[in-house]
Symmetry: C2
Subunit: 334 residues, 2 copies
């Protein structure tokens, strides 16, 4: 490191890392960007908090979240961050095509937080028509979209879906993180801001923590620049694809007929239970057997019942643990 | 690292680092603390922002800053962070004994941010009577003191002054940082909260960035635990003491009679100019000669004139550069 790099840095982040991230996002995520639009953050959590505060400062009053999605202010820190930024929070339903844009239109929100590449937690990919409708909404309403691009580097069957930001760079903030590609403990991510708004986000970053660790930033820049970040992602995609195949296979054998969706990308899938199943009882019993899964109602804004579904993660579990885990769940379902 | 440490961590910080910091602050700063009161932050900037937000949430409406001190909302991000937290900002004068506690009492503030060990920028040490008056004020008014303990590890002539927190652990937040001991680029610090309030600060940390890098935290814990952090501080104290001696000597020879104060600790001193001197002209001319110094008016809340004084730093300058720098300043003063 140069001695100058040991001092307080640019609150937007190291020039070197911002250059590397802009290049990475253009290449891998089809983003329309340059380093001037990139602000380095501690991860998604800080990124979304900074953007919400910046938009509240700029006059936004209401933000919409997907439902199911992060959940509500009691269960989720992102929803709490929105409230802390002084924004009213509304929830907009997600269906098989992703966010219901007509319902968003009716909600009166000026900002929406979405997971278009792999909706969290349903796993639905935002349909092409909805993508266009969403950016049209933003342009018409002078509104902004915050794109949580959390696991899009891990896509299996189809070509990667580019970021929504590529469709409407003036209206979309894209927030990325190394939490899935490397580890949450790294605490590095980025905000890609519309060309008119990086300064507003940087001003929030300055009062929030005066900038992220330059040492960590230069290490990440070196990792990406060297090609090892891409190699690591390629290697992990194969490993996750194997776990995913094992999950599909195990569920088909142990609980035949169980519908499994949301598998196009990422590290989790949604298993649809029969309508009379008691989702929370299955979750509780599975936890007792040391199988970690979630009920989709944990992700609903009002927590009330919808169709019973299980959110099954395979990102943080060895391939061999999947079969007995699914066998235990199938046993409970019977 | 254990695999579990790679996941999202406790928003308060790594249990290991919090244990190490609590021990360090008891030993080195005479703090009354335990790990439950420690929240790891990105540095002073984040620490003070989290505490101000937590206190605003708890009902505080007005915060006082020292004058001269950080400056005003236009010049300083800490003052801006207070305004962003929804707090009204007032300024309270500093005299030769430190913060004027009677003026604080009259200000109506419920929170005050102070630099008791080595006032920034005057270098005054808060007098014993004032220390007691300050904690009495807090107890009487149900108010809180935020202690910016930024450079107290570097003290030269006298025994270190313990933290104010030791006098009134229920009323004082102490914020420390590695920015001076290691480097600003490290971006690690800590908040030591009153026993009733760590959860309120941790809640703000959670929505702010969900926690600091565990990798960095474990590295810092290992550094302190190993004794190398203390050894580094001892070595640096000698080096800074030499620079300080060189500064005193050079000023005495090149500008005899110039009063120099604030030298008990830290990396800067205040040179008192004759009353008719044009402080800002000297600063500008010095900068043209590549000598970095500041006028004390940059630290005043209203920027208007007080006695002309120069704030001269010696923390980030080689010992050999001090003599020609002071010679150039003396030339300007003539």
């Amino acid at each position: 490191m140069a001695t100058a790099d040991l001092d307080y840095g640019d609150p937007r982040g190291s020039a070197e890392l911002r250059r590397v991230i802009a290049g990475y996002l253009r290449r891998v995520r089809a983003a329309a960007t340059n380093p001037e639009q990139v602000i380095v953050s501690t991860g998604f959590a800080q990124g979304v908090s900074l953007v919400l505060r910046a938009l509240a400062q700029a006059g936004a009053r209401c933000v919409a979240f997907e439902d199911p999605g992060y959940g509500n202010a009691e269960t989720d820190e992102t929803v709490r961050a929105a409230a802390a930024a002084g924004l009213r929070v509304v929830h907009v339903p997600v269906d098989d095509l992703g966010l219901d844009v007509a319902a968003l239109e009716a909600s009166g929100a000026q900002v929406v937080v979405v997971t278009p590449a792999h909706q969290s937690p349903t796993g639905v990919v935002l349909a092409a028509g909805r993508r266009q409708a969403l950016v049209d909404w933003a342009a018409r309403r002078d509104a902004f979209v915050i794109e949580d691009d959390y696991d899009s580097e891990f896509r299996y069957d189809r070509e990667p879906v580019g970021v929504l930001q590529g469709l409407a760079p003036d209206r979309v903030f894209t927030i990325g993180t190394t939490s899935k590609a490397l580890a949450p403990a790294v605490r590095l991510g980025w905000v890609l801001a519309p060309p008119a708004l990086p300064d507003a986000v940087a001003a929030e970053k300055l009062i929030s923590d005066r900038g992220s660790s330059t040492l960590d930033q230069l290490a990440l820049a070196a990792l990406i620049r060297s090609g090892r970040y891409d190699r690591h992602l390629r290697r992990m995609r194969v490993i996750y694809a194997q776990r995913r195949a094992r999950l599909i296979d195990a569920l088909a054998r142990h609980a035949p007929g169980t519908r499994l969706t949301g598998l196009a990308a990422g590290f989790h899938a949604v298993a649809h239970l029969r309508p009379t199943a008691d989702e929370q009882a299955v979750v509780a019993a599975a936890r007792e057997r040391r199988v970690g899964l979630y009920g989709i109602s944990d992700y609903r804004a009002d927590g009330t019942d919808g169709p019973p579904q299980l959110v099954i993660g395979f990102g943080n579990v060895g391939e061999r643990a999947i079969e007995p885990g699914i066998a235990a769940v199938a046993d409970l379902l019977r």
